[in-house]
């Protein structure tokens, strides 16, 4: 009996069925009486083939419509909150636009960080990792600051309670501030947490204000860019698992933190993923992000359309936006480019350069009022008015 299954597996594989369908078919095959196995496999293959896209199908247009129509139903509001502890996330139409425009920075970068072994099981350990990665700036601990334009100094009032909660002593702050150039740091009042930073060079009010900004953005601990981090839990098959969500993204640094499962670190920043892991990973993130946005809005778009979109954006090995600076710019046809945006510029430049339009695509043929070359119209007959001499002429 297993040989039989093996044989049918080979039949289906040779027919070009993808592994996932073969597995599923074999699973169902086992539950059927043996007499019908042959017919069943035949049906599966026939069904699969009938669902393949026909040659010449305008898959791009279909994908565009399949995503375009549902997107008209999405919320225009930008901000949503994930969980009770309010992590700010851009969703809906603004996020979708951000993705297809291939903006180099998402408006709300986020990371999802799985933890290793014990860290994933123990909430206290998970919280330790959070402390390790969450960025803490001097400004986060400062209740109030004063700029003294007469003495040329900036006075900080540190929130001692907050500092204690974050495991930072006043000495740590003073030490960190000593790195700011051209200044001297004094701990005036350890009881009240007053720190004085004196500017050593000739000062002006403007310079002092710049100094203040510099002081407030001095990093005390954590990973640059990770503005917030929270522990979330999720129930898996065998118990509860803790993971971390962050606001802000820094893949490289986070992967090095002990306790972090580097293999599963994810970011919603497509370009950062591209820089760290390459084009294939970026493509996957694009797909997952777009699917995520649509699903969150309760819209059901077949994933194949989204895969096509992501493939179109990534097949040059870089991330190209859907638009006049990306995919449309690379189109060969003048009319197709002009049909998208800035019509006159494209036509003007094309005529100046003496470009020729072969009218092979969909858009340009609609413009000139011809049938579009899709489906059966992709084929055409060519006649040679003269007898081709000697060797045969191709195409």
């Amino acid at each position: 009996m297993p040989e039989d299954l093996e044989r049918y597996r080979r039949v289906m594989e040779n027919a070009g069925l993808p592994p996932k369908i073969v597995e599923e078919a074999l699973r169902r095959l086992e539950k059927l009486p043996r007499e019908v196995w042959g017919r069943f496999v035949e049906e599966v293959i026939k069904d699969y083939e009938s669902r393949l896209v026909e040659p010449g199908e305008v898959v791009g247009v279909v994908a565009a419509q399949s995503m375009g129509e549902p997107s008209t139903q999405m919320t225009l509001r930008t901000f949503h909150y994930v969980g009770i502890r309010e992590l700010n996330v851009t969703l809906g139409l603004p996020r979708l636009i951000e993705l297809v425009d291939a903006r180099s920075k998402p408006s709300t970068p986020m990371m999802r960080i799985p933890l290793k072994g014990e860290y994933a099981k123990n909430e206290e350990l998970a919280k330790q990792v959070v402390k390790e990665i969450e960025e803490l700036l001097v400004g986060d601990l400062t209740v109030r600051y004063e700029i003294d334009p007469f003495e040329g100094q900036v006075i900080l009032y540190i929130d001692l309670e907050q500092a204690e909660r974050r495991d930072v002593g006043l000495e740590d702050i003073v030490k960190a501030l000593k790195k700011v150039r051209n200044t001297d740091v004094f701990l005036d009042d350890p009881e009240k947490g007053i720190i004085r930073v004196v500017y050593l060079e000739e000062f002006s009010y403007v310079k002092l204000r710049q100094l203040k900004d510099k002081i407030l953005s001095v990093r005390l601990k954590g990973i640059p860019g990770i503005r917030r981090a929270i522990v979330k839990k999720r129930s898996t098959g065998d118990g509860i698992e803790y993971y971390i969500l962050t606001e802000g993204s820094n893949i490289r640094a986070v992967m090095k933190v002990p306790g972090v499962d580097a293999r599963g670190v994810r970011s919603n920043d497509v370009f950062e993923v591209y820089r760290e892991f390459g084009i294939e990973a970026a493509r996957q993130v694009l797909i997952d992000e777009i699917v995520g946005v649509l699903r969150e809005q309760g819209l059901d778009v077949d994933i194949r359309h989204i895969i096509l979109l992501a493939d179109a954006m990534t097949f040059t090995g870089r991330i190209r936006q859907i638009g006049r600076h990306g995919i449309v710019k690379d189109k060969k046809s003048v009319f197709a480019r002009a049909a998208f945006e800035v019509v006159t510029t494209h036509l003007y430049n094309a005529s100046a350069r003496g470009e020729v339009d072969d009218l092979r695509g969909v858009a340009e043929n609609i413009i000139v009022g011809q049938p579009m070359p899709y489906g059966t119209a992709t084929l055409g007959a060519y006649f040679y008015m003269r007898e081709p001499r000697g060797k045969q002429v191709k195409r």
Partner: protein, 81 residues
């Protein structure tokens, strides 16, 4: 801190990349009846391409996990940049 360099192919987002030999490359292009530049591209500077030592002109075989097909093999042509 873990000192040693992380192997990007360990990461769940990065599929297997395999560098094709000269013979495999020729066989593939013959089978597809395509010129190499007609394949999707991958930049020579791409972290995954660098990790397997691909140089411009090579063809990389990529075995992706796919939600619709289970597993799918694609090829990318290594271009400079």
């Amino acid at each position: 801190m873990e000192a040693e360099e992380f192997d990007i192919f360990e990461h769940e987002l990065v599929p297997v990349h395999i560098l094709l030999t000269k013979e495999e490359r020729a066989k593939l292009l013959k089978m597809l009846k395509k010129k190499p530049w007609q394949l999707p591209w991958i930049r020579a500077s791409d972290p995954a391409a660098r990790a397997i030592g691909a140089r411009p002109g090579d063809v990389v075989k990529i075995i992706r996990k796919s939600r619709t097909a289970g597993e799918i093999v694609v090829y990318r042509y290594v271009v400079p940049g």
